[in-house]
Symmetry: C2
DNA sequence: ACATTATTTCTATATTTATGAAAATATAGA
DNA sequence: TCTATATTTTCATAAATATAGAAATAATGT
């Protein structure tokens, strides 16, 4: 991971519609969702949605596969994890645990133990 | 954490100079660094640096404290962790571990065990 | 071939943002 | 108070980005 790639990826989710889109697909899992389902869920006009999906794909945070008339978009979990790791890399001057571990789907409270 | 706050925070680090600044301060730990030290390390002119530090502060990702002539900037780890948690919230449709845990200062390799 | 549905590209307009020189402000010590 | 150092604000210019309607492209079933 280098600075430029991280900036590209961060910029791609630093936008209200795209952040919603990305989080929806992160939650959707490995199967992804067709573009239309995303647009319907988030009330985004088709052309605007297409623009945003392209931005996220260009940044490498989404992949897609065509299935008949539908184009399924899928979150790229490796890319997301790489980005998060870059942000927290060597953090806290070696002091343990000033960064919380970010565990998939686990709420903060559950991590206190 | 809501969408707008997350977008503000992501936008604040979605810029080459600011991402460098933020990561430097994340690595610097709880003591932070004076603005001048950041500028010297990253070769950023004072006025430009001040603009970027303000952006990061406005987003809540940095705090600062004045000490004599120096203004120390400090990464806000709680805000960072909140942001990362928001991105991965409820991820992967309940399937365990498609998201890697992001552990502070621990390289990916060491997590394989 | 045709009608239907899904998605993308084209287009124009409006808005936001980055940059660094110069000036202003703030603090400390002599 | 005077001087040196640290930081911020002001300012103008340049560049990048978001939006959605309309038209174009693609795939399906009849």
């Amino acid at each position: 991971m280098d600075n430029k790639l991280a900036v590209t990826q961060l910029a791609s989710i630093a936008q209200e519609a795209r952040l919603d889109i990305f989080r929806l697909l992160v939650q959707a899992g490995a199967g992804g969702l067709p573009a239309g389902a995303v647009g319907e869920r988030l009330k985004i006009p088709a052309s605007t949605l297409s623009f945003h999906l392209k931005e996220l794909s260009r940044a490498g945070l989404l992949s897609s596969r065509q299935q008949g008339r539908y184009v399924y978009y899928i979150a790229n979990y490796d890319a997301m994890n790489g980005l998060l790791a870059y942000l927290t890399e060597n953090c806290c001057a070696g002091q343990a645990s000033c960064c919380l571990d970010v565990a998939c789907g686990v709420e903060e409270k559950e991590l206190q133990s």
